[in-house]
Structure formats: structure tokens, C-alpha cells
């Protein structure tokens, strides 16, 4: 086995070991289990976004739309229709997929700044709907007075409502499935066509790759997992918030991906961890915590364009 490959396997093993044992050590480093759960949820959203920006080379500033649609889809279903967690998640994810499929078809011929601007615009439409449609979405106050439900699978009951640890493993299960699916897709012939588009779109076109269709598929995969992350986010909080549809939230996902390293599969996880931890601890010391994130971000982008993992890889 090549040394590079065994390093990668060792890194993968370490990441999964840390994630699997998180409930046992998070207290010792001054954290708490909901914070660890939040990191995993945000890491899923950032990794989903990075499938598009890091591995297809298409920038989106509107992924909060699908994160939020997943969240509101799940929350509204559980609150008004059926108090069933898995069904709520399914509705949330399908809502995100349908919206992404339609919006994607409309914008997939755009590139660069035009694509990014239009994703912001579409995202803001959903934000204003959630913000204004008071009697259904709760408007500015968010969607409250509901909570995630324990899961009954016939032979087994999983109490994700009262046990924060059980809920963490529930989230980690979906995180692991999603990351495995994305990693699998990236290592396939289809995944290589996405790399081809990222590296040189003109060449990709003249290899017979219908570039717009492949970008649409990548966008769809990316938005699907962003939607799934959104359902987990509202389940974590027992609350859906219009801010999770706002373009600021989209920007935070981009920051997480870039901070950790867009070229690395684990980059967004590292970026999400740094972001959430800084947000949590620095914000308890100063209201201006965003300026610390901003400063850190500027330093990384200017001096280490491959992110935190890029630094480690060079070392």
C-alpha cells in the first residue's frame, strides 16, 4: 500500500473514532452534547455544499434555501400533519429535492458570479415566505410548539426525544450514510466527470460530457444532503427559524467549507467545527465574535487557499 493511501485511511479512522466517542469526551473539553450534535449537522450541510463548490467548481450562495426547506418541511409535517420524526424528515428532504430540481433547471446554464447571485435571490424568496406567512410558519418567531418524536420501529424504540446521546447517534447515523454516499459518488466515473468540469469546463464539454446536465445532477445531490441536514437541524432545536433560510446562513456554509479546505473531503467538517466552536465560545466573551471569524477567514483565504486541512497536508 502506498504511504499516502495509508495516511488517508488512518485519518479516516481517526475522524470516525472521534465522532463515535464524542459523547464520552466532549464534557472533558468543556463542551456539551448538543454542541457536538450541532457540529455534525452543520458539517453535513457544509460537506453537501462542498460537493458542488469543491468538487464540481460551482459556487452557490443559496444553500440555506434547501437547508431551510428541509427544516420547515420536517417541522410543519410533525406539527400539523403527523407527529412522526422519520416521516417529517422524508417530507423535508423531498421538498428540498423538488425545489432544487426546478430551480436547478432554471439556473444551471449560468456560471460564476451570475450563478451565485441567482442562488442568493432564490434563497431570499423562501426566506421571505417563511418570514411573512405568519399563521403557518410562525413568521419571525419561527415554528415552535412541536418537538421531535421517539421512533418506534416495531421491534425497537429509539428515544431520541429525551436522550441527547441517543439523538446524537441518530444524527451521526445519517451523517455517516450521507458522507459515504457522497464519497462513493466522487470516486465513480460520474464523480470524475464533475472533477473534469471543475478543472476545465471547455475540455469536459469536448470530451462529450453534457456539462449542464452533470452540474444539475451535482447540484441536486448537494441540495438533497443540505435538505437532510436542515431536517436534523430543526429536530435538534425542536424549532424552525426563518434565519436558516437566510443568505447569511448560506454564507456561513461557504465559510465553513473554505475555512476547512474545499479540496479535502473532510475540510468542511473541520471548518464547521472551528466555526461552531468559535461561535459558541467567543460569542460568550464578546458580541463581535463574527469579526474574529472574519479575521481568521481572511488570513486563511489569503495565505492558505486550501484551508486548514491544506496547511496540515503541507506540514
Amino acid at each position: 500500500m502506498k504511504p499516502e493511501r495509508s495516511w488517508k485511511l488512518a485519518a479516516d479512522a481517526l475522524v470516525w473514532l472521534l465522532l463515535l466517542t464524542m459523547p464520552f469526551w466532549i464534557g472533558a473539553v468543556g463542551g456539551y452534547i448538543q454542541l457536538g450534535t450541532l457540529v455534525v449537522v452543520m458539517a453535513l450541510a457544509a460537506t453537501a455544499l462542498n460537493f458542488l463548490i469543491g468538487f464540481t467548481g460551482i459556487m452557490s450562495f443559496g444553500h440555506a434555501a434547501f437547508f431551510g426547506l428541509g427544516g420547515y418541511g420536517a417541522g410543519l409535517t410533525i406539527k400539523y400533519l403527523v407527529p412522526n420524526t422519520l416521516l417529517g424528515m422524508a417530507v423535508g428532504v423531498v421538498t428540498a429535492i423538488v425545489a432544487a430540481a426546478i430551480i436547478g433547471k432554471l439556473i444551471v446554464h449560468l456560471r460564476g458570479i451570475y450563478f451565485a447571485m441567482v442562488t442568493i435571490a432564490f434563497g431570499q424568496i423562501f426566506y421571505f415566505i417563511a418570514f411573512r406567512w405568519n399563521n403557518v410558519t410562525g413568521g419571525d418567531d419561527g415554528l415552535s410548539n412541536w418537538h421531535r418524536m421517539p421512533i418506534h420501529l416495531g421491534f425497537i424504540n429509539i428515544d431520541i426525544l429525551d436522550s441527547a446521546v441517543t439523538f446524537y447517534y441518530f444524527v451521526l447515523f445519517f451523517f455517516a450514510l450521507s458522507l459515504a454516499a457522497m464519497a462513493w459518488a466522487l470516486r465513480s466515473p460520474f464523480g470524475r466527470t464533475l472533477l473534469a468540469i471543475r478543472e476545465n469546463e471547455r475540455r469536459a464539454r469536448y470530451l462529450g460530457i453534457p456539462v449542464d446536465n452533470h452540474i444539475w445532477l451535482s447540484w441536486l445531490i448537494s441540495c438533497t444532503f443540505a435538505g437532510l441536514a436542515g431536517t436534523l437541524y430543526v429536530l435538534l432545536n425542536n424549532f424552525a427559524d426563518p434565519h436558516q433560510l437566510h443568505w447569511e446562513q448560506s454564507g456561513e456554509f461557504v465559510i465553513m467549507a473554505v475555512l476547512g479546505g474545499m479540496r479535502s473531503f473532510w475540510g468542511p467538517l473541520v471548518g464547521a467545527t472551528i466555526f461552531i466552536v468559535l461561535q459558541n465560545y467567543v460569542s460568550s466573551m464578546t458580541e463581535n465574535w463574527m469579526s474574529f471569524i472574519g479575521l481568521f477567514f481572511v488570513v486563511i483565504v489569503l495565505f492558505f487557499p486550501d484551508g486548514v486541512l491544506g496547511i496540515l497536508r503541507k506540514a
Binding site: 462513493w184 465513480s188 460520474f190 466527470t193 473534469a196 471547455r202 462529450g208 460530457i209
Partner: protein
């Protein structure tokens, strides 16, 4: 029947008539050169054939099918491949990966998220065959961006060949190269023509190369066809001498 039939294509950019009702017919297995002074419309003509830009008028028929309205990818599926004046490869990927991608696409695997063992073997064998044939095998694990200009161009041509095309368009394949690299690329083109039986249309500035290799030569000047014929006829053509060749041949 000819492989490529270009019928009276015209392309305007604003007030500039870049290509003015140009027709060209290329037979299977033919090596055709397109020459002309800078700004004669050669690259625009290539872009029209390959679907990079759409003509304002005229028709392009590839292998009996009208492809005038088709996207570049669909023209590739119909057997067309091209290279560019400025080499278009995947510079950060390795030589092996640069060839693996077109081999997989040509095998119809572009939407697959998994391959069977036999399919993977088929892809590897085809990529290895192309690497051996072109002499790129020794560089298989290196990033293409690290290679010499000539080797990068070889990679680009082999990526096009990996698609199993019937017609290959080469836009100034020896542009910016030294004597030795020019010779090597010329050898590669000759082998593509003879061993693979490919029809090749070539834009080239190196006149010695054109006169030695081409079956027929088309001369463009200010967007229109000035002459069309065997290399010897082109050299003898007074209009061509006046417009383009001038002292270079005399």
C-alpha cells in the same frame, strides 16, 4: 460519401464577417490542412464545425447527420473530437486521470456511480493502450501541468483519441513549440492518420509541415476560401502566393 460536409457556413461578429459562406468536404481518412494569414477566420471556422459557436447561415453535416444545431457534447457522440490552440487539459490531474476520464465517457460510463471489475479492467486496459501508444506511459502518475509544452499537447491529442473519433480537428497543434517538439507532434499526427486511419483537419502555420503531410489544403483569407487543392497546386497558386505565402516559399 464524405465524412464531413460543411455547406456555406457564415458567421458574423458585429460588423466583422469572420467566416463568409465557406464550404468544405472532408473524406474518411483524409488529412486536410486549413491555412491562412492571422485573422483569416480559421479558428472561427473550427468553432463552427465543433459547435463552440453557431453559424448565422449554412449547414454542417457529420457522417450523414445534420449537426448544425447540436451541442458540442452531441457532436462528440457523433464522432467529432478537437484540440485547441491553447492546450485544454486537466493540469492538476495526473496523466493517467486525464486519459481515464475520456475512456470512461467513451465507454458510456459517464453517469455510472460504480463499475464492475470487468468494466474497470476494460477502462484500465484502454487507458494503458493509449499511454503506451503515445509514449506517455512513463509520466502516468505526474500532474499534466508539470509536463513540457509538447507532452501536454500530446496528452490533449490522446484525450481526443480516447473518444474513438472519426474526425479529429487540431487547432495549431505545434503553436509555440521548438524544432524538436514540432517534429514529435508532427510524427504523432502522421501516426494518427496512418495507423488509426483518422480523418484529420488541421490548422497549421508551419508550411513545411503542411506541405509534407496534408492530402489537401484549403486556404482562407478574410473569412473566404481563396483556394482548395493538393499541396503542389496551392504552392503554385499565384493568388495564394500574393495573399499569404509570399516570400516564405519563394
Amino acid at each position: 460519401m464524405s465524412l464531413l460536409e460543411v455547406e456555406n457556413v457564415t458567421k458574423r461578429f458585429g460588423s466583422l464577417l469572420a467566416v463568409d459562406s465557406v464550404s468544405m468536404s472532408v473524406d474518411s481518412g483524409e488529412l486536410r490542412a486549413v491555412i491562412g494569414p492571422n485573422g483569416a477566420g480559421k479558428t472561427t471556422f473550427f468553432n463552427l464545425i465543433s459547435g463552440f459557436v453557431r453559424p448565422d447561415a449554412g449547414r454542417i453535416v457529420l457522417d450523414g447527420h445534420d449537426v448544425t444545431g447540436l451541442s458540442p457534447a452531441r457532436r462528440v457522440w457523433r464522432g467529432l473530437a478537437r484540440t485547441f490552440q491553447i492546450t485544454e487539459v486537466f493540469p492538476r490531474l495526473t496523466v493517467g486521470e486525464n486519459l481515464q476520464i475520456p475512456v470512461e465517457v467513451a465507454a458510456g460510463f459517464r453517469l455510472r456511480i460504480g463499475l464492475s471489475g470487468a468494466e474497470r479492467l476494460k477502462v484500465r486496459e484502454r487507458a494503458d493502450e493509449l499511454l503506451e501508444w503515445s509514449g506517455l506511459a512513463r509520466n502516468v502518475g505526474r500532474a499534466v501541468g508539470e509536463l513540457s509544452h509538447g507532452d501536454q499537447r500530446t496528452v490533449e491529442i490522446m484525450m481526443a483519441l480516447a473518444l474513438n473519433p472519426r474526425l479529429l480537428l487540431l487547432d495549431e497543434p505545434t503553436a509555440g513549440m521548438g524544432e524538436r517538439e514540432t517534429y514529435e507532434i508532427a510524427q504523432l499526427i502522421r501516426r494518427l492518420h496512418r495507423e488509426k486511419g483518422l480523418a484529420i483537419v488541421l490548422i497549421e502555420h508551419d508550411m513545411r509541415l503542411v506541405l509534407r503531410m496534408a492530402d489537401r489544403v484549403m486556404v482562407l483569407d478574410r473569412g473566404a476560401v481563396l483556394a482548395n487543392g493538393a499541396p503542389a497546386e496551392i504552392v503554385a497558386n499565384e493568388m495564394v502566393q500574393a495573399a499569404y505565402l509570399g516570400k516564405a516559399i519563394a
